[in-house]
């Protein structure tokens, strides 16, 4: 039932979204959210290594694409059964999906998957490290930023917030989640405990008592989260609807994010990454549906599709957004690969997402249209996409804090 509270909140947010909102209003809007009530959830995925957007969301309608990539282009969509599996899957007559992403076509058709193209960070760097850092801090070109955009995007907490509001799957806490609001990293839900209970108590006291502020805070956050996750650890988890996550770290990360969300422990923000996109050499195998890029895309697509199936109705609360630090050169390099480029594509998936459409303005691939004469130019700032999700989906109106110095343009994704 759409309650009056929600109505109030949405319209009030629409009002405050444009400018600074008085804090009392923000508070009043969130105060009604009883603890344990379902919250909106944002899942961010980072494709580390600079994914080749042009071979993922293929601009088959632009002939320049085929001129620039004589040996590693994805062929135009075709009905010919012999060639179909190696050709782009048409989306809108101009763009097509890489055939290894067939698992996502259905979601696009059902309008739950949106794509933004020619999107990315405006900073010119072609350094993996710097570009990832900028995208995760949410402040391109500014190295002094201490915290990450996901940490700043968490709506102000009401009452005592859950210790697992923000969770990252992996061995380290990503830059995007670092900051003042507690955020935790875990390799697996199951390993997130001290296996010797007595030792656990001892450690908890030792970390509470230490004079080192850094370790004291980390210890406190850790043990609060441990307490919260204990109940989940005892239960076996079977994905719903027969969802089959691919083997490997990424699929397992999404599986555990699904498990955490469905356990209602208060997750509002989750992060997972998938590496290996830096394809300087032999990006495609003997056939376009084979090789390093295709294998990675299959894993990626199947994991997203499994997450969707597993989450079921809960996807009405969830948006998944995926990004990579920059795109790759429009022209293939000398080794059937691509070098570091500029603009890229982003995927947005969710129950409330206005999908089935490729958003953004296509800048073209003619020499004079390319960024610095070599890369896909940027027509949408990645903060437009993230900003809209933070304000409209999570309902956090303080975009000025989340993306300081930038005013996101709303694309209408949700």
């Amino acid at each position: 039932m759409p309650t009056r509270r929600f109505f109030l909140r949405d319209s009030a947010l629409a009002m405050v979204g444009v400018g600074a909102s008085p804090l009392w209003l923000e508070r009043a809007l969130y105060a009604g959210d009883a603890p344990g009530a379902r919250k909106k959830i944002l899942v961010a995925i980072f494709q580390r290594g600079a994914a080749d957007g042009l071979n993922i969301v293929v601009p088959h309608g632009d002939p320049a694409y085929y001129d620039l990539r004589p040996t590693i282009a994805i062929p135009r969509p075709t009905a010919d059964p012999a060639k179909k599996d190696d050709a782009a899957i048409d989306l809108d007559g101009f763009f097509g999906l890489n055939p290894a992403l067939a698992s996502l076509k259905g979601l696009f058709d059902q309008k739950h998957l949106a794509i933004v193209d020619a999107v990315g960070s405006p900073d010119p760097t072609r350094s993996h490290f710097d570009a990832q850092d900028y995208m995760e801090s949410g402040t391109p070109g500014r190295k002094a930023t201490q915290d990450g955009w996901m940490n700043r995007a968490l709506p102000p907490a009401v009452g005592k917030p859950s210790a697992v509001r923000a969770v990252s799957l992996g061995p380290v806490l990503p830059r995007a989640m670092r900051g003042h609001t507690p955020a935790i990293a875990m390799q697996t839900i199951d390993s997130f405990q001290v296996r010797n209970a007595q030792a656990g108590m001892q450690f908890e006291q030792a970390y509470a008592a230490t004079k080192d502020p850094m370790l004291q805070a980390a210890g406190r956050e850790t043990f609060e989260a441990v307490a919260l996750l204990q109940s989940i650890q005892k239960k076996a988890y079977t994905p719903a609807a027969g969802a089959e996550y691919p083997r490997g770290r990424f699929g397992q990360s999404l599986l555990q994010i699904a498990q955490l969300i469905k356990s209602d422990v208060g997750v509002e923000m989750a992060f997972a990454d998938i590496g290996g996109w830096d394809h300087h050499v032999n990006e495609l195998g003997p056939r376009p549906s084979e090789g390093v890029l295709a294998n990675l895309l299959r894993e990626y697509g199947q994991a997203l599709a499994a997450f969707w199936a597993d989450m079921g109705d809960r996807m009405s609360d969830v948006v998944v957004v995926s990004m990579s630090e920059f795109g790759r050169t429009a022209k293939e390099n000398g080794n059937r690969g691509t070098d570091h480029g500029h603009a890229n594509s982003m995927f947005i998936m969710g129950g409330d997402v206005k999908g089935g459409k490729v958003y953004g303005k296509w800048p073209g691939l003619q020499k004079e249209q390319l960024y610095e004469g070599r890369d896909l130019a940027l027509t949408t700032d990645f903060r437009d996409v993230l900003g809209e999700l933070v304000s409209r989906h999570l309902g956090n109106p303080s975009l000025k804090t989340v993306f300081p110095g930038y005013e996101p343009h709303i694309l209408g994704l949700v």
């Binding site: 290594g49 875990m186 390993s191 010797n196 850094m214 390099n333 080794n335 070098d339």
Partner: protein
């Protein structure tokens, strides 16, 4: 009332977000600078040196340094060749024979299944050792059997497999031995196995289920263990030896600074072990390109990495071909692999960004491309067979280049790349970048600028003499100050090695320890990105990692980490009921 409180709050927030933040940061920086001036007490100085120049103090180390004199001890560590190596370490490294092999030797003695097949077909020579040849031939037979069985099952599941089923343990052993294998503890199994005649052992080894084999590994003497591991796949031995060697050296070497620096510089010039041919190239890379130069001239270190097959393969330069090179474009014969036709910028970029100038070191995209042109033709002879650096003039771009404003005339051949290395090795940005990184590893996460300035000046004055740069740092007041004392969070490798050292653990099998380092978040030789692991404490500060450290501490003290023997009494404090609390404590996580 509520509104007023909110107004005050929002004012405060604005202050923090705006100019207030920089004022606060400034104040904090001033306070921090004061701490870098405050000197440590004599005993603290010794601990500081031990914590930073070694993988953690062992019982008695502090007294030994005191007896020798701190200055003299540091000086010795700066001259590792003057320290006799620990005989215990040399003994333990003996069985890790791959650490001493060349690339081609590694490939032929520890081949992949594909290579074994080529050997059997006569396309590749067998290793000279007859035992090794016999073993590989057997492995091949086994491999083929499995392949055939697999293909048969896939093609027609209804038909019985043409291969006889592999012989099980029951066919090979008498009742008593069989019972021991099925029900005995690892020690009993080991004894039963050792009692078998050698020919029988091989058959039993092949028939043994993987789980039983794994359990035996931890109790078997080193040589027998190797035979077990070889049966599982010879190509894995190279990676195993590498990580075991690293752990053993970290724990046992008496040339501790040499080990710490080898770790630092390998990470600086990171190569990912699991990228294709690098499985065989990393061993000689660390041994010959990194280790000999860690206290030498930076230029030599840089050149050794630039010409190493491991780096050339990892950053794709071996395939980079000049667009105007004689062999580029249409001229390429069909026999040449498709994919060797043009420029690849990967190495050129990382050389400038990560190895020398740093990302803000003052270069442009054009410099990256020009550097890449200079390095065309720097390639590898037979990368899949262990490799060797070679300059191939026929794929070199011989045109004129301009790199960082310097004209490199046409026709320079191999000297083009050497010229680039010379320019960046002596660049002031490199002096600063390297000094900052060293200071971040050895002094503090945000090292004081005054110290970095002096280190960079020494770098330039001494033509990049890394020992001289280290000396400036290790003799500085900042190094021995309260600002740097216990200011760094240990990396997972440091946690594991320092814990074993602190309790004087006896490492009989280092592989499980290396697995612990992976569990803690730092798979050794397996950082896929060229950045290597960050030297900043933040890299390792997170809840999952913290819990993994606590679990490791308890396991270690409880003698539950296979391959390490610990005197539990030494790992406990009188006030703690559970051994290992000290190792998992917040204090122990810092150095």
């Amino acid at each position: 009332m509520r509104q007023r409180a909110a107004a005050i709050l929002s004012c405060t927030l604005a202050l923090v977000a705006g100019s207030g933040a920089s004022a606060y940061a400034k104040k904090k920086a001033i306070a921090q600078n004061k701490l870098f001036q405050k000197q440590l007490a004599a005993d603290q100085k010794i601990l500081q040196a031990l914590n930073r120049l070694t993988f953690g103090p062992r019982p008695g180390d502090a007294q030994a340094v005191k007896a020798l004199g701190l200055k003299k001890w540091i000086d010795r560590q700066l001259h590792p060749e003057s320290i006799p190596e620990n005989p215990i370490l040399e003994e333990k490294l003996k069985t890790l024979e791959t650490l001493r092999m060349s690339g081609p030797e590694l490939v032929s003695n520890y081949p992949t299944p594909q290579m074994v097949r080529q050997m059997v077909n006569g396309q590749l020579p067998f290793p000279t050792d007859p035992d090794r040849k016999r073993m590989l031939t057997k492995l091949m037979e086994k491999y083929e059997e499995r392949q055939k069985a697999g293909a048969g099952a896939g093609a027609d599941a209804a038909k019985p497999s043409p291969m006889p089923p592999a012989r099980g343990l029951a066919d090979l052993l008498d009742g008593k031995t069989l019972r021991t294998f099925r029900q005995g503890n690892p020690q009993q199994r080991l004894e039963a196995f050792q009692a078998l005649p050698r020919e029988k052992q091989e058959e039993v080894l092949e028939a043994m289920p993987g789980q039983i084999r794994q359990a035996l590994l931890t109790v078997a003497p080193a040589e027998l263990r190797r035979r077990f591991e070889m049966a599982a796949g010879p190509q894995q031995m190279v990676a195993r030896d590498l990580v075991e060697g690293k752990l053993l050296r970290a724990v046992y070497s008496d040339r501790q600074l040499d080990e710490v620096l080898t770790d630092f510089w390998y990470n600086h010039f990171n190569v990912y072990l699991d990228k294709g041919a690098d499985r065989y190239l990393v061993t000689p890379y660390e041994r010959e390109a990194i280790r000999p130069h860690v206290l030498g001239k930076f230029k030599d270190l840089l050149t050794a990495t630039a010409k190493s097959p491991a780096m050339l393969f990892y950053l794709d330069n071996w395939q980079s071909v000049g667009p105007d090179a004689p062999r580029a474009g249409r001229g390429i014969p069909k026999a040449a692999k498709k994919g060797t036709r043009g420029l690849n910028e990967n190495y050129g970029r990382e050389l400038l960004e990560l190895h020398t100038l740093g990302v803000d070191g003052g270069y442009t995209q054009a410099d990256v491309t020009e550097a890449a042109r200079c390095f065309t033709g720097w390639t590898i002879l037979q990368p899949q067979r262990g490799g060797e650096f070679v300059f191939n003039a026929r794929v070199h771009d011989n045109g004129e280049k301009t790199f960082l404003g310097v004209k490199i005339p046409a026709g320079g051949g191999i000297t083009d790349g050497e010229k680039v290395l010379d320019i960046v090795a002596h660049h002031p940005s490199t002096a600063r970048f390297i000094s900052t990184k060293l200071a971040q590893r050895f002094v503090a996460d945000e090292p004081p600028a005054t110290l970095v300035d002096r280190m960079a000046a020494a770098f330039i004055k001494t033509d990049g003499d890394l020992r001289a740069v280290m000396k400036v740092m290790l003799e500085s007041k900042e190094f021995f100050s309260q600002g740097s004392y216990r200011a760094k969070l240990k990396s997972p490798l440091e946690v594991v090695a320092s814990a074993v050292r602190a309790v004087n653990g006896d490492v009989t099998y280092a592989f499980p320890l290396a697995n612990q380092v992976t569990q803690l978040g730092q798979p050794l030789y397996r950082k896929a990105e060229p950045t290597g692991y960050s030297n900043h404490s933040k890299e390792w500060l997170n809840s999952g990692g913290l819990l993994a450290r606590m679990n490791f501490a308890v396991q270690l003290a409880d003698n539950k980490v296979p391959g390490v023997k610990v005197d539990a009494a030494k790992a406990a404090r009188p006030e703690d009921p559970v051994a290992g609390i000290a190792i998992g404590s917040p204090e122990f996580q810092k150095r």
